[in-house]
């Protein structure tokens, strides 16, 4: 896609954007509306890419007779302050790139004037840029006049400026309205194109202050489109020439011929879950080499039969089938690991199996206790503490069991339309006062710490209280907070660790979590 494309090649490489591209092309060729809004919830990045290339197409084309094109593409996230927006836009439009040696000076017609300090400054900047462009285009013949409104049509050469804003939902609110009527405000032929994943009705300013845009919406990429994008993004990758394995004996063409089935399998496996071509091509790129290894393995297997003859060996149909079938689970695995980025691509390659088993985090005993206790404190209702945590007689324990089971058997739908009680574990942790957690903690330790002696009944409580009040323990709370396993500030905290992790910890400490969580899973 590096070589300068034509409209046709562009449309070919972005099939799903065909209408978009042609429409824009016509617009730009003739007279664009001053405000275009493009909605693409599926592939914003690719859309922006395509549009940029289209604009390059125009701006790089020789200013033959009709018009000179200048465009600026701005990322609304990157332009987090008006000044940034102004600078980026004007510099790009004027084709000026600030260099360090002239101290990052912005573009300006006659130097020193600042266009970036306020909105109207920016408007002047646009006018200036327009003048400048006309000046250059007409070889300096065009005189500076301030009513460019009409003046343009007279002399044949016209300047067209396009302002492309991607992620426009993040655009600074006070910039939106002026941008939408930029042409009117500056009396210049400038077109604003906003690209966003959200529809205009979600992002438009209040009171209809902005005129209605010309809507263009991009649909979700079709299967063909996706495959097309995939195959362009995954060009031929030779098996690393160094390996002298069986792959070296397979002709590159036949390997090349594997790409299409490879990609289509990828799409058929992962497509239902991920529609974004970027993600698919990411997975595809990561897995390609492992795919080749798999190929090598299989072909060596059935080459054991006819080991003797040398030279090229081609990939039989059934081998291809076997290969793809064997590789399908790999795709799933990759999807589960890579798509959420649980592991980086490189790690996934080296350790071909994802190592995402929830290993119990290494903490000191106290910290483990604190985590468990705080989890209990932020999932169990306060009333239940006495029953759940304080380990009294058997009778009480039985009572608790009954209570618990009754919750589990409660019907999904509340009776007489009342809302179903949602377990706290699903609603997320609640905050708890430090003392409550300490009380729970004390009980846990009394029961599970044989090192500290809570032997005799009468002083046990007291001893537990002492242990719970130790500086070391309080420091543990601090360190846990810094590690964001607890959140909140003194004296109320909240547990930030999930159920399964706590389960692991409890297992280490020999605490039976199920008995203590009010409504266990």
């Amino acid at each position: 896609m590096s070589h300068s494309p034509t409209l046709e090649t562009l449309c070919a490489s972005y099939p799903s954007h065909h209408t978009l591209l042609t429409t824009l092309h016509t617009f730009l060729a003739i007279t664009p509306p001053t405000f275009i809004y493009i909605t693409d919830p599926y592939t914003p990045r690719i859309t922006t890419l395509a549009i940029k290339q289209l604009l390059d197409l125009f701006s790089e084309s020789e200013p033959d007779e009709k018009a000179v094109y200048a465009y600026a593409s701005i990322n609304a996230v990157a332009a987090f302050s008006p000044r940034l927006f102004f600078d980026t836009a004007l510099n790009a439009l004027a084709g000026h790139s600030p260099t360090w040696d002239n101290a990052c000076a912005n573009w300006s017609r006659d130097d020193g004037i600042k266009y970036n300090e306020s909105l109207d400054g920016f408007l002047w900047g646009i006018k200036e840029v327009h003048e400048h462009l006309r000046w250059n285009s007409t070889g300096g013949t065009a005189k500076r006049d301030w009513r460019k409104g009409r003046a343009r049509e007279e002399d044949g050469m016209q300047v067209k400026m396009i302002l492309v804003v991607e992620r426009s939902e993040r655009l600074l609110p006070d910039l939106v309205v002026p941008l939408t009527k930029l042409a009117e405000l500056t009396q210049t032929p400038v077109t604003t194109i906003l690209i966003s994943s959200l529809p205009w009705c979600d992002t438009k300013p209040l009171l209809g202050a902005a005129p209605d845009p010309f809507y263009i919406s991009v649909g979700s990429p079709s299967k063909e489109a996706t495959l097309q994008i995939l195959s362009t993004s995954l060009p031929f990758v030779s098996p690393s020439s160094s390996d002298t394995g069986i792959l070296s004996r397979i002709s590159t063409e036949s390997i090349q011929s594997l790409r299409v089935p490879y990609l289509s399998t990828l799409h058929s496996v992962c497509g239902p879950f991920v529609s974004d071509p970027d993600e698919l091509s990411y997975i595809g790129a990561v897995l390609w080499l492992t795919f080749l290894d798999e190929l090598a393995r299989l072909s060596t297997e059935d080459n054991t039969v006819y080991e003797e003859e040398e030279g090229e060996l081609d990939i039989t149909e059934e081998l291809k089938m076997r290969l793809l079938r064997a590789f399908t689970p790999k795709f799933h695995e990759a999807l589960d690991v890579l798509y959420p980025r649980l592991g980086s691509a490189v790690d996934f390659l080296v350790s071909a199996s994802s190592s995402q088993t929830v290993s119990t985090l290494d903490l000191t005993r106290t910290e483990k206790y604190v985590v468990i206790a705080s989890y209990l404190a932020s999932t169990n209702p306060v009333k239940s503490d006495m029953r759940m945590v304080y380990r009294g007689s058997e009778g009480e324990r039985k009572k608790r069991r009954r209570r618990k089971s009754s919750i589990l058997t409660s019907p999904r739908k509340g009776k007489d339309g009342a809302a179903v009680k949602i377990p706290q574990r699903l609603l997320g942790p609640t905050t708890f006062p430090l003392d409550r957690m300490l009380a729970i903690l004390g009980n846990l330790m009394v029961e599970h710490e044989e090192e500290l002696d809570f032997r005799d009944e009468e002083t046990r409580e007291r001893a537990a209280e002492v242990e719970v009040g130790r500086v070391g323990l309080l420091c543990a709370i601090t360190s846990l907070t810094q590690a964001h396993l607890l959140t909140g500030v003194w004296p109320t905290y909240k547990c930030a660790v999930g159920y399964d992790v706590v389960l692991g910890l409890a297992h280490d400490m020999g605490v039976s979590l199920g008995e203590r969580v009010w409504d266990a899973a």
């Binding site: 001053t34 209809g208 649909g219 959420p340 649980l342 009342a418 949602i422």
Partner: protein, 524 residues
């Protein structure tokens, strides 16, 4: 407008060759005896065995491509600066009282003439719904002035404070008079060197001085305040006060040049926003613009635009008649009319509703929608389908009139659908607000109970769900009910589902597998 019976009639007319020679009627005054232009056309195209009346029309012969493009260019250019409405009304409704815009234009013209030629101080308000031609009227009037006045354009959206406005006034005036005045505050001083963004603004104390300078400029000054109502929101309306005061006190003939203050706004009650002292300075002149009142005018306008004569150079008689006839065909079709009628009715409702509700700028999308329709209709003209067709109009209308509210519902990945269904379930169980964990719990349960394909088991792994949740969040299928604390775990953020049950139902019907449908149907 065309009587309906004509349309079928002209279909089975037979035409004779000699009509070719006839000069094509200028498109402007149509109200045609529908016979002749089609005649010409049929004969002309006959050797191309193309019937112009029916779509899909045949391929356009090569020699006309240039013409087509030229036509497109012309029409699009026209659409950029649509005509004021009175331009084509004369023939049709002479009987009525003149169009609002005509009146407005006339009055404004007089006003400015007064200022420009006799040096009066004037002020007026130009009020009208969106895209009803306010700005265009102003521009046309400005064009038509005998002597070029100093024009200062301010917009309430840009000059958000009086001081900004002052600086802008100073700048524009300085540029147009060539003499940089208001030198006491270093506004347009190129050599000030503060790098940080805070502006070197003139102190508000300079305001009266600055404004009072305006009439003394060598040419009369015309100040256009776009979004006038916003200026009225500035503290103490100082700017408005000064401007109007100067305008009022500007007497004819005491050596001063005239000054005119034109407020442009969509807000009908703007006058009430003015404080007493300000209002007393205001001349009270209010000019109104309006949109066409009748579908016929509307269609007429569409016609004018469509049949825009091709700008000089590649005029091709055959082409233009062919084209104009095609347009006639197009506009004459009953369905077209209905479609336009729908839009007309619909948007009128919107307009009224908004006027009542918002009480300010009415979202009046009548013409704009119409032009957009035409525009995109025009756009999609290709040599293979050279003439506007109904289908194009339809699609364009759908796309432009009311774009879908949740465009991302058109196609969803499997996990998204699962979450959607789960969300619906939570709602039916009485929880409008939910966390991701709840949805996921529900999903796991479903996977467990249903004998669904193991594939979904795969897809249901938490990671999968999480990220598809991410995607949904990115496209705002869920919006936060309340902004969660920073650094709250993702899965416990509180969400609410924007898509209601029917939306989801549609999606599931369209894409969902049987399992999903079953699951969805459980949510009653």
């Amino acid at each position: 407008m065309l009587p309906t019976p004509v349309t079928p009639a002209q279909k089975n007319k037979t035409r004779t060759v000699e009509d070719i020679a006839l000069p094509t009627t200028p498109v402007k005054r149509h109200s045609p005896s529908p016979a002749r232009p089609p005649l010409a056309k049929r004969a002309k195209l006959s050797h191309l065995n193309v019937s112009p009346s029916k779509s899909p029309r045949g391929v356009l012969p090569v020699e006309f491509h240039a013409c087509l493009n030229a036509q497109k260019r012309a029409v699009l250019a026209m659409l950029q600066r649509p005509p004021l409405q009175f331009s084509q009304i004369e023939e049709e409704h002479d009987d009525e009282e003149p169009m609002a815009n005509e009146v407005a234009l006339q009055q404004l013209d007089d006003l400015l003439r007064g200022t420009v030629e006799r040096g009066e101080g004037n002020s007026c308000l130009l009020i009208g719904p969106r895209s009803s031609g306010k700005t265009r009227i102003v521009e046309t009037v400005l064009e038509s002035q005998s002597q070029q006045p100093i024009v200062i354009r301010l917009s309430g959206n840009v000059q958000t404070t009086d001081r900004l406005a002052m600086r802008e006034i100073a700048r524009q005036a300085a540029v147009q008079t060539g003499s940089s005045f208001l030198a006491d505050s270093d506004v347009s001083d190129p050599t000030d060197e503060d790098t940080e963004v805070n502006l070197s603004l003139p102190p508000s104390s300079h305001l009266p001085a600055l404004i009072s300078v305006l009439p003394t400029l060598k040419r009369p000054t015309i100040i256009i305040l776009d979004a006038f109502d916003l200026f009225a929101l500035h503290p103490r309306q100082a700017l408005l006060y000064c401007l109007l005061d100067t305008a009022q006190s500007c007497r004819v003939g005491d050596g001063m040049n005239g000054i005119a203050v034109i407020g442009v706004t969509t807000r009908v009650d703007t006058i009430n926003l003015l404080e007493k002292r300000v209002k007393s300075r205001f001349s009270g002149r209010i000019l109104r613009t309006a949109s066409p009142r009748r579908l016929s005018e509307w269609i007429a306008m569409a016609r004018t635009i469509l049949t825009m004569p091709v700008s000089d150079g590649d005029t091709n008689v055959e082409w233009s008649e062919m084209w104009s006839d095609a347009v006639e065909q197009f506009l004459a079709e009953r369905a077209t009319e209905n479609l336009l009628n729908d839009t007309f009715a619909l948007t009128r409702d919107v307009a009224m509703l908004n006027r009542i509700m918002v009480g300010s700028c009415a979202l009046h999308r009548r013409e704009s929608t119409d032009w957009l329709i035409q525009m995109s209709t025009i756009l999609s003209l290709t040599p293979s389908k050279p003439f506007p067709t109904l289908a194009q109009l339809k699609s364009a209308t759908l796309e432009q009139r009311c774009p879908p509210r949740l465009p991302f519902l058109q196609s969803l990945s499997y996990p998204c659908m699962c979450l959607l269904i789960a969300a619906v379930h939570t709602r039916t169980s009485g929880h409008d607000v939910f966390t991701f964990e709840m949805l996921h719990e529900m999903f796991r349960e479903q996977v467990r109970t249903s004998s669904a394909a193991p594939v979904q088991m795969q897809g249901g792994s938490v990671g999968m769900m999480k990220c598809s949740r991410e995607i949904l969040m990115a496209v705002r299928l869920y919006i936060f009910t309340f902004v969660p604390l920073p650094n709250i775990a993702k899965e416990f953020g509180k969400y609410r589902c924007m898509a209601d049950r029917d939306d989801v139902k549609k999606v599931i019907e369209k894409q969902g597998g049987t399992n999903l449908k079953k699951w969805f149907s459980k949510a009653k």
